[in-house]
């Protein structure tokens, strides 16, 4: 376990939030502005969700709507991207192969696209159906997540075209600063090249988790927003993250399937304990871990 403080301001924001798929009137009015933030994807007209606080308002609302996501393959079976169908939109979003669609936070949905190193981060309001370009990260965006208050988006990227880890940057949605919140994950032969990186929030919304996984196992960095303290958990045998409480990091063991043991690591001491030998599912709810095992559902207070 390693603790450090790390945060650096990169530059002013590249763009303010811009309507990408607004009404025809708005598109006409904003034509000049859009020239620098041209969307990579054509889309039908939809209401505006680019105004200040749009993300927070969408997050505060929960209509229960969720997008239907299907993958697209060519005739040879090669992956070509995702189609995202949203009930409030007439046409599906057809995203390129290098794209990411997050889990909805209330009615707010984040997706990223990247073509030839030109990356975009979009916000979709699942009720209004609008789609706004909210960040244009450098390199290739891999995933993104809204801050719990909806004021910023955190983006994980890799460099283009080398695809080296580029860390996690925070983009304020009010046009404020862009901060590099986490440096690139350092090389480590125990993990090899990174296959996937997952962003998430602790159950108390105070900590950003960034889990980087090689083909066999993972390491997790926890960023405490209040202090900018980064703690790294990289003991052997860590698998997919389950969640983070105020005091514990909960992960599966390094399995590529289920059932799988569940590990709980004390965030202060770094000491891990196995809280289930064989779980079919696990979730952090508040300060508890809910496990589904052969014996039924078990709740473990953390």
């Amino acid at each position: 376990m390693l603790r450090a403080r790390w945060r650096t301001s990169i530059r002013p924001p590249l763009i303010p939030p811009v309507v990408v798929m607004g009404t025809a009137v708005l598109l006409n009015l904003a034509a000049a502005q859009l020239a620098i933030a041209a969307p990579l994807l054509a889309a039908p007209a939809a209401p505006d969700c680019s105004t200040a606080g749009a993300a927070a308002r969408a997050m505060a609302r929960d209509s229960g709507s969720s997008p239907a996501i299907t993958q697209r393959l060519d005739a040879a079976g090669t992956y070509t991207g995702l189609s995202v169908t949203i009930a409030s939109r007439q046409e599906a979003l057809n995203l390129p192969a290098e794209s990411f669609v997050g889990q909805p936070a209330g009615d707010a949905l984040i997706y990223t696209t990247s073509v030839s190193g030109n990356s975009e981060v979009h916000l979709v309001d699942l009720t209004l159906g609008c789609d706004a370009l909210i960040a244009r990260p450098s390199g290739t965006a891999r995933s993104a997540i809204l801050s719990p208050d909806g004021a910023a988006v955190y983006v994980h990227s890799v460099t283009y075209p080398d695809r080296a880890d580029a860390g996690v940057a925070r983009y304020a949605l009010d046009g404020g600063a862009v901060d590099q919140e986490l440096p690139p994950v350092p090389g480590d032969v125990r993990f090899g090249v990174t296959f996937g990186t997952q962003l998430g929030w602790s159950s108390d919304n105070a900590t950003l988790s960034v889990q980087s996984c090689g083909i066999g196992s993972c390491r997790t960095r926890l960023l405490e927003l209040a202090t900018a303290t980064v703690t790294t958990f990289d003991a052997d045998g860590q698998g997919p993250i389950v969640g983070v409480t105020a005091h514990h990091l909960v992960t599966f063991a390094a399995c590529d399937g289920l059932p799988c043991p569940v590990l709980s690591t004390d965030r202060q001491s770094g000491i891990s304990s196995r809280i289930s030998d064989e779980a079919w599912s696990a979730a952090v709810v508040g300060s508890e871990v809910r496990l589904s095992t052969a014996a039924g559902t078990v709740e473990v207070l953390q």
Binding site: G77, F195, Q198
Partner: protein, 338 residues
Amino acid sequence: MRRVVAALAGSLLILALSSAQASASAPTPAGGQVWNQNQRVTYRWHEGDEPPSWMRAAINAAASDSNESRSAKAALLSHASSAASWIGYTGAMPTTWAIGYTVRNAPTSFTMRLRPQGYPLDWGNLRWCQAYETPPAGCYDAEMIALHEFGHVQTLDHPNDADVTDWTDTVMHWAPKTKPKAGWNQHTFGRCDVARLQIRYTPLSSSTRISTCLDLNTDLSLSSSMASGGAVVLTARLKIVDGTIWPNLASAPLSSRTINLQRRAIGSATWQSFGQLTSLDENGRYTKTFSPTDSYDYRVIFNSPANEGLEGDTSLVVRVSVSNGSDCGYGQTKMYIC
């Protein structure tokens, strides 16, 4: 007798044996509920996520690899359109990083996901060798990865690489290798995978070779009886010892092995080869019938085979006396041929 010899060999020999065992690979870890012995488990292609033809062929080949190389009564896997279990070709996985993902719910069903060709990972795009006419370096062999996932279906886990002395001892490595690294296209379970499957499911039959990843003591016994016409029938029985640490393997009969017969003249210390016993049945019994013309002590020997994880054993001595009815005077068995 072997045990006596071993005891006399002293602590140095025991230490040497312990050292040799510590450097060998261990049976691949496993856990959870097993399937029924030889349970037929079928899978279908997941609706909406059907693999392309080249991936289907690789998956079906992997199922055959599992069936043919399991050497144990593990589940038999095959495709069937109406199966309860399914396999999908999809990037929609519970993790951001795995290229294959299996959920096992033995003995009912399983699900398996394999990411599609070209799927973007942090380091680059996933490449399956079978998607190419000439597979490029750095591709993953879909048949091997599917066999790895079928290993999870059979309850195998990932080994600690520190416990593995030879990469090909298992296909369950945490980090499978890409072309052209050694083991990138292994299409059979490794010997330590087989060992665990034999521990959990028992060997396919008493004739099935025991994995060399195991090191099991055997018990060889010998008895005699008279047959018509003055013939003597020697019957040996070979099995894994009763007290082995793997309960499913304890006392398991061992058939179709080589059992050597030796004899010595009464009072002599020199044993001479007297042929072999013939495997009689699946209960680990071996037999030889012959008509003795003189009195001899007999014993049978099972030598530790190079291609199996079995220690050898030597039976106790059976005496066959050819006399006119007088007592043999030996504490084992007495035979009279008049």
